[in-house]
């Protein structure tokens, strides 16, 4: 029966995340962006919520709730509403854990998932993007070929969050033309973490280029074992995550612009009293409110085990455009004040522009 109401449990999670975002993330996000660093203390606090462990079965050390893309979407939105860099940082272990949970073999699950349930913070990530024009996640330049009992990976990756610290990552590579995942542990020979990247946005999140030079991964570490994984489905989880984050960023920008427009006076009244401003705000709001349930529907399809490819893809496409328009118009509402770094909207704009590019950088 159609319903747009999160469960009581989900509502609690939303409240907790919103509180965390308000009390902690929002307090430091600007400094983090300017300095390109996220303090260890907040990373620890985020870990304590058990955002990943909560989706891992008790038998593997987790809290035992079922992994739910819908719940993940709700969390992703709230964290990204706080700050996108931090949202991506806090959820980065999922980049390894959730594909294993969804597509891994029993051995892979047993070996790796308990790590994410420990008290100590785990760094883990995934490498999908490649530094070239017309990057196509279905036709990766990074290649994997079977050589004896190993897969040998070669290629170059970019925008790999936290690669320098990661104990574990999934590297996506083309195996006979299909995109497949490979679980790679820190220190694997041939895995070369490059310099930290400089990007327009998500500046607080350290991302890296990755070189793969005959990087050998045991056969058993192919995600899903011999049968491999359904990469499209992993991608759909990622599309839901990124779309939800786009909603979060857009909402943050919209709210700030709305408040500003109510407080800022010109010609004797708040600038929001002018239809040109008020309509920008209303159109933003409508588009944000439309995108959110689109992400929910795609997530719900995933949770139901249905084919979510069309809806997840279209939602991401819509969300990419939506967040761009909303963040740009938010800067516009603030005018000159939107252009200076005293206000957050320019940061939202820089982060917002990235969504069309951030393929595979988050997952629910």
């Amino acid at each position: 029966m159609i319903s747009f109401s999160p469960s009581e449990e989900q509502k609690m999670v939303i409240t907790t995340m919103k509180q965390f975002a308000t009390d902690e993330i929002r307090k430091i996000y600007r400094d983090c962006d300017e300095e390109g660093e996220i303090p260890e203390s907040i990373i620890e606090k985020a870990w304590e919520f058990g955002l990943i462990a909560g989706s891992i079965p008790e038998s593997l050390g987790g809290f035992g709730s079922e992994h739910s893309a819908v719940s993940g979407a709700l969390v992703a939105e709230e964290l990204a509403w706080g700050d996108l860099s931090m949202a991506m940082h806090f959820l980065s272990p999922a980049l390894t854990a959730f594909p294993i949970l969804e597509a891994g073999t029993e051995e892979q699950k047993a070996k790796y998932l308990p790590l994410f349930c420990e008290k100590a913070r785990k760094y883990a990530t995934a490498a999908l993007l490649e530094p070239r024009f017309n990057f196509d996640l279905n036709e990766l330049a990074t290649s994997a070929r079977l050589d004896g009992s190993d897969y040998v990976l070669n290629g170059e990756k970019c925008y790999v969050p936290l690669a320098a610290n990661a104990d574990l990552m999934i590297i996506y590579a083309s195996l006979d033309g299909d995109t497949q995942g490979f679980i790679v542990e820190k220190g694997t020979s041939g895995l070369e973490v490059g310099e930290r990247e400089k990007n327009m946005g998500i500046k607080a999140l350290a991302t890296y280029k990755l070189g793969l030079k005959d990087c050998r991964v045991p056969k058993s570490n192919r995600l899903g074992g011999e049968a491999g994984c359904d990469f499209t489905r992993i991608q759909n989880y990622s599309q839901v995550a990124l779309s939800s984050m786009a909603v979060g960023v857009a909402k943050a920008a919209h709210e700030y612009a709305l408040e500003y427009a109510k407080q800022r006076y010109a010609w004797g009244e708040p600038i929001a009293s002018r239809q040109a401003i008020a309509f920008m705000l209303a159109e933003q709001y409508i588009d944000i409110e439309a995108t959110r349930p689109m992400t929910w529907e795609a997530a719900w399809e995933l949770d139901r085990g249905m084919d979510a490819n069309k809806d997840a893809y279209l939602t991401k496409m819509y969300a990419d455009d939506m967040v761009m328009t909303v963040t740009d118009r938010s800067v516009q509402v603030l005018g000159g004040h939107g252009y200076i770094r005293e206000h957050p909207v320019e940061l939202y704009l820089r982060n917002g522009r990235g969504f069309a590019t951030f393929d595979g950088m988050a997952i629910v």
Partner: protein, 403 residues
């Protein structure tokens, strides 16, 4: 719990509705577009025999009830044809006003005869030559004279106005002022039954689309109706906090706007499916999952059409769902209406472009859907009016703070 599963009985009703739309609406859609002001008598009889096939099947009366079912079924009907659906005998928009603001006695009195006898219609008459969305400028007057109200004025754009007045048992809900000096607070709505002397159809409009639907200009000249034909509180309450009479009537929009949004969705889906069929015939496959840069322009257009349709559908379902939950949904109703109106206007316009010479020709229904769809961005409050309402609500501004 967040859920997108449609209940089996609604799913079944959608299927039936769609089949009926295909059977009863589609085959005659072009004819009544080309023959404006001609009445589809056979269809009307069919719809009167089985009201579930027409508007009443979606709006309130049907299996959908008040909730997502309502908009899902309305979508199927206008997927068949919007103009013909609007011909459906039944209480229509006038009925919606009655349901939202009428007393049980009034509901019984005016709606009782629906479902029996000859086809009859309800109609809502708000707009006047000099006023559209600004209902406070309504100049039609209602003057009390003993046990009666005496109505005088001119109404335009009254959907089904002719059918409501020409058929026994029909009625028109007329918005009129009982006190011109009181502005919006003085506006009340009144039920004028068919056969009442002093009300007549002045002309029928020639329109861009939905031509099967009659759009009447009505003249009221000393039109007398019983005192208790007024809907809601007859008192003029200028105090905002107490303006319940006005608010109550206005809440009709909370029902009709999601309904109109659903109408847009139906027409939009018809256009999308039409384009998809051409693609299928031409062997064109839409590749969901490709990087945007690698899409063809055609794929990109089509995907953007689908996505904006979906966005509008989500808002529409949510507005209807909230109504079903008895939650205040005026904001969501306006959002759904604003979004669906413009989204489907663009979807159908783009569809015509994509199909080139075939799209622009009256040999297929596509160009008609483009003309039909445009009304959804206009009636029940234009896109601008609904956006303004959204703006006021999210800003917490009243009419004075945001004009």
């Amino acid at each position: 719990m967040i859920d997108f599963e449609i209940e089996p009985q609604i799913e079944e009703a959608r299927k039936v509705t769609r089949e009926n739309a295909l059977k009863h609406f589609r085959p005659i859609a072009r004819y009544y577009d080309e023959h404006e002001h001609e009445s589809p008598e056979d269809l009307i009889d069919t719809l009167w025999q089985d009201p579930s096939l027409g508007m009443a099947g979606a709006m309130g009366g049907g299996v959908g009830g008040i909730g997502p079912g309502m908009v899902l079924l309305a979508e199927e009907m206008t997927w068949g044809d919007a103009g013909l659906m609007l011909c459906s005998p039944g209480p229509g928009l006038g009925g919606a006003a009655l349901m939202m603001a009428g007393t049980p006695e009034q509901l019984g009195r005016f709606m009782m005869s629906y479902g029996q006898g000859n086809p009859k219609w309800g109609c809502m008459a708000i707009t006047e030559p000099g006023c559209g969305s600004d209902t406070s400028a309504i100049t039609t007057t209602a003057t009390r004279d003993g046990d009666e109200w005496v109505l005088n004025g001119e109404k335009i754009f009254a959907s089904a106005g002719q059918r409501a007045l020409d058929n026994e048992g029909g009625f028109v809900v007329v918005w009129a002022s009982v006190d011109r000096s009181a502005g919006r607070a003085g506006i009340k709505s009144f039920v004028v039954p068919s056969g009442t002397p002093g009300i007549r159809v002045e002309k029928l409009e020639k329109k861009l689309g939905i031509r099967a639907s009659d759009t009447a200009s009505l003249i009221l000249e000393d039109c007398r109706i019983p005192y208790d034909n007024i809907l809601g509180n007859p008192e003029v309450v200028v105090d905002k906090a107490k303006g319940e009479g006005y608010k109550k009537v206005f809440a009709t929009f909370d029902l009709t706007r999601p309904f109109v949004a659903a109408m847009a969705l139906g027409v939009g889906r018809a256009a999308l499916e039409f384009v998809q069929e051409v693609f299928d015939k031409e062997g064109i496959k839409i590749r969901y999952g490709m990087p945007r840069n690698k899409l063809t322009s055609l794929e990109r257009d089509y995907m953007e059409m689908e996505a904006s349709w979906k966005a509008a559908q989500m808002l529409t379902l949510r507005a209807a769902w909230m109504m079903g939950q008895m939650s205040r949904n005026d904001l969501q109703a306006s959002m759904a209406k604003a979004k669906a109106g413009i989204a489907v206007t663009k979807v159908t316009q783009k569809a015509v472009e994509l199909l080139g010479p075939l799209g622009y020709s009256r040999d297929s229904l596509l160009e008609k859907w483009m003309r039909d769809s445009k009304i959804n961005d206009i009636f029940e409050g234009t896109g601008q009016v609904n956006t303004l309402i959204v703006a006021r609500r999210i800003l917490g501004f009243d009419r004075e703070q945001l004009k």
